[in-house]
Symmetry: C2
Subunit: 289 residues, 2 copies
């Protein structure tokens, strides 16, 4: 695996790869099994795998964890090699934003709710940096984890709206054995919070079970999830949302492809989790996608 | 010359052109010698010339001339053939915006003044459609007329900020023999307004002459230009601006590369014109770029 930190080096390194297919895994580093699963999928799909590690200041709000976001390039490099990354792109902030960021890409409507509502400007930062990275790498395929389901919806919408020639491939959430969705931010959790953080996946399982029993009412499902979260004294709900996916429209009764998503704070650490579920009309069975 | 109206046809047609270089001339049609000069430059620079004709709704304000904007594909096609266009892309609004336009590209700061101030949202529409067209055509070079000097600055900034791999080539303003800058909108002018519209180029010439005599004070130069415009009873000044270029910063005393730009209304028709000038410090000579 080669590591480059400038756009020029990256472009030179990729010059002779085509017509082989390039798979791209953009990350903020501090890699875990979720990232590794994206690399595996990229290895299956493409001939050459590029990973980027860039903690993008543009997607962090003024009171968020930009400075404390965990970073460990040495460990990440080793994990990337083992996973089968061919080229690691590790640019500095100055390399990515040499003159600040006058140009901003905004995906409207679907960023109004969920994490978009809790983190104003977050998805502008995500869309802008992902578009830049796509222009730098020119990948055939790009791989994103469904843990950030709204991010996946935003990027797919952007790619479609802006006629970008990359196929976005969403990959399933990877969880710990006990159900906690993997996240670089899990490292912030105290032992106590780590244990209580299981309420996220349990609340989703509860909603799924109720759906299986025929419950379609959004208010009832949300109430049941709130009750599960309420069993954790440390947990503070940011949002619980049940919406159509990927257009993220509100509805009273779930039907079709739906996202059940939640964000919960444990002190200063904010965790998110979700399930994407195919909700059958009436009382037929539902299937997790 | 071939004409295509879908993105798929265009991409298929361009598939086997590379590694030859593609030059791209995006237009809103109703072609005049200004557009033709862009095609000539594209022919000199690239191996294959693509022109687009698309009256982009996204860059027109609610009270602007979207519906009345002059259109004549037959005449345009003939002029494009004669000028040496290889492929004409003439998409419908539905082809370009099949699901509306949720994703918007905004270039901040340099769009606050001049036409950006007079036409809110205009440059968001320009940046978004140009980015889409660049993604559709994937040109090596793109050619824009300097009559829209702020547009050129916006597009160059966007290309740089978003790491797009296209070289933007600004081309000089083309004028009628009497000095009027060519514009598809000149067709709106009554005979009387057409005669009086010469005040735009005359005001620019006046400013240039004063600069040649050593005047550097922006207020004095603007005053002299206002006086020239004032000789036309039909003319109504939208703006007269003297700024650094391409960053469009305000200054009291001109120095370095400067844009002198103005927008003037004749009834409902709004005309723009400008000169880009290299202003020497002190009283040395100035040169028009």
């Amino acid at each position: 695996m080669r590591t480059v930190s400038t756009i020029q080096e990256l472009r030179t390194a990729l010059k002779n790869i085509r017509p082989q297919k390039i798979g791209f895994v953009p990350t903020m580093g501090y890699l875990h099994e979720g990232h590794i699963s994206l690399v595996k999928k990229a290895r299956e799909t493409a001939d050459f795998v590029v990973m980027s590690i860039f903690v993008n200041p543009l997607q962090f709000g003024p009171n968020e964890d930009l400075d404390s976001y965990p970073r460990d390039l040495e460990r990440d490099s080793q994990l990337a090699v083992e996973a089968g990354v061919d080229l690691l792109f590790f640019p500095s902030v100055e390399e990515m934003y040499p003159t600040g960021s006058r140009t901003i890409v905004s995906v409207h409507e679907i960023t109004d709710a969920l994490c978009g509502a809790s983190r104003p400007g977050h998805f502008d930062g995500v869309a802008t940096v992902v578009l830049k990275l796509f222009n730098i790498v020119s990948p055939d395929y790009a791989f994103f984890g469904m843990k950030d389901a709204q991010q996946v919806a935003v990027i797919m919408q952007m790619v479609r709206d802006l006629n970008m020639q990359v196929e976005v491939i969403p990959c399933p959430i990877v969880r710990e054995a006990d159900g906690l969705a993997l996240s670089s931010r899990n490292v912030y959790l105290s032992e106590e919070a780590r244990t209580q953080a299981l309420v996220l996946s349990r609340a989703l399982a509860e909603a799924q079970q109720l759906l299986g029993k025929g419950e379609r009412n959004v208010a009832a499902l949300r109430q049941a999830m709130e009750t599960v979260i309420g069993t954790s004294p440390l947990a503070e709900i940011d949002y619980i949302e049940l919406r159509s996916y990927p257009d993220l429209q509100l509805t009273d009764e779930l039907a079709g492809t739906c996202l059940i998503a939640l964000a919960v704070r444990f002190g200063t650490t904010r965790l998110i989790d979700n399930i994407l579920i195919e909700v059958a009309k009436e009382e037929a069975a539902c299937s997790v996608r």
